[in-house]
């Protein structure tokens, strides 16, 4: 019976872990290149000392021209993530999402952020991780 218990635990632990791995952010598809395809994108990735003064550990952004089809897909993904955000600020214009800042507290050491902006011409999607709070980020960048 003890062996059976151990085998069951070893069998279901990776399955459970796999389930958890699948439950990451919906917008991960966009960063993985599965939504924008061959669209012209300006992608920026920073991780390390360049972000220290902002109390961030990693930064990943995508800036692209906002076609209607992609906008609808990305908007849906952002709103899906917004459902479990700890804090969120969103703006809708004519029923379309034009601005979103979502904050997630995934662990005691830091916060994760997903930011989305679409002015009808250019759209930007950002993922950040770090110890900075939303108020700190606003204070840092409000005068820049």
């Amino acid at each position: 019976m003890k062996r059976f218990l151990l085998i069951t635990l070893l069998l279901f632990l990776p399955i459970g872990w796999l389930l958890m791995a699948q439950s990451s952010f919906a917008v991960k598809k966009v960063f993985d290149g599965k939504v924008l395809g061959s669209k012209a994108v300006v992608e920026t990735m920073i991780s390390g000392r360049q972000l220290a003064s902002y109390h961030l550990d990693s930064f990943h952004s995508l800036r692209y021209s906002a076609g209607e089809e992609e906008a609808a897909v990305v908007e849906e993904l952002v709103l899906a993530d917004a459902t479990h955000a700890a804090e969120k600020e969103t703006v809708f214009v004519d029923g379309k999402l034009t601005y979103a800042v979502l904050a997630f507290q995934s662990d005691p050491d830091g916060n994760e952020y997903i930011c989305y902006q679409n002015d009808g011409t250019t759209a930007t999607l950002v993922y950040m991780y770090g110890s900075a709070t939303l108020d700190e980020l606003k204070n840092i960048f409000k005068t820049r």
């Binding site: 059976f4 459970g16 990693s58 703006v91 950002v126 606003k138």
Partner: protein, 175 residues
């Protein structure tokens, strides 16, 4: 006799929990082959048929004087035995794997959460790079400037939603 019966009931329960030694298991098999007590139906269903077929020719070595009633009635009893037991050990057998599954999922949940952050960012430590339409721009200053410009767009007062504006629109609609 009752004391002996209780001994074998306990032995059967320990067999279901995989806590019996080989010698105890053989003793249980011999007992089940020789008895038709309905309290042992479940154990007989799991073991008894095998015990009847493999030990029919072997005389029980137990000093206990057990009735020998081998025949078609026991075989019919073996095949038609129900899965219930007075001790509830069959219910416990399903409960333990269910608890093991639940425990492993809970462990995986918490362990997964501990390693969850930053899975979106496929970059190594110390990365500072931009890609413009697929072309790498290995210029740190350009990457940092892009980052600052992007975050200023998000967090500057002009970009952030101002609930005061919305409220003033609502309350001053008729003006």
């Amino acid at each position: 006799m009752n004391k002996d019966k209780q001994y074998y009931l306990d032995l059967a329960e320990r067999w279901f929990d995989a806590e019996t030694s080989e010698a105890e298991e053989k003793e249980l098999r011999r007992f089940l082959a020789a008895t038709e007590d309905p309290d042992f139906d479940e154990a007989r269903a799991a073991l008894g048929f095998l015990a009847a077929s493999s030990l029919r020719a072997e005389a029980p070595k137990s000093p206990i004087d057990l009735p020998r009633q081998i025949g078609p009635r026991r075989t019919a009893g073996l095949l038609g035995t129900s899965a219930t037991t007075a001790s509830g050990s069959s219910k416990r057998r399903w409960l333990i794997p269910a608890v093991a599954v639940a425990a492993s999922l809970v462990l995986a949940f918490f362990f997964g959460r501990m390693t969850a952050p930053v899975e979106i960012v496929p970059v190594g430590a110390g990365t500072c790079v931009s890609y413009v339409h697929g072309v790498e721009v290995n210029d740190e200053d350009f990457a940092v400037a892009t980052m600052e410009s992007t975050l200023s767009d998000f967090f500057s007062p002009a970009a952030a939603p101002d609930p005061r504006t919305d409220l003033s629109l609502i309350f001053n609609a008729n003006e």
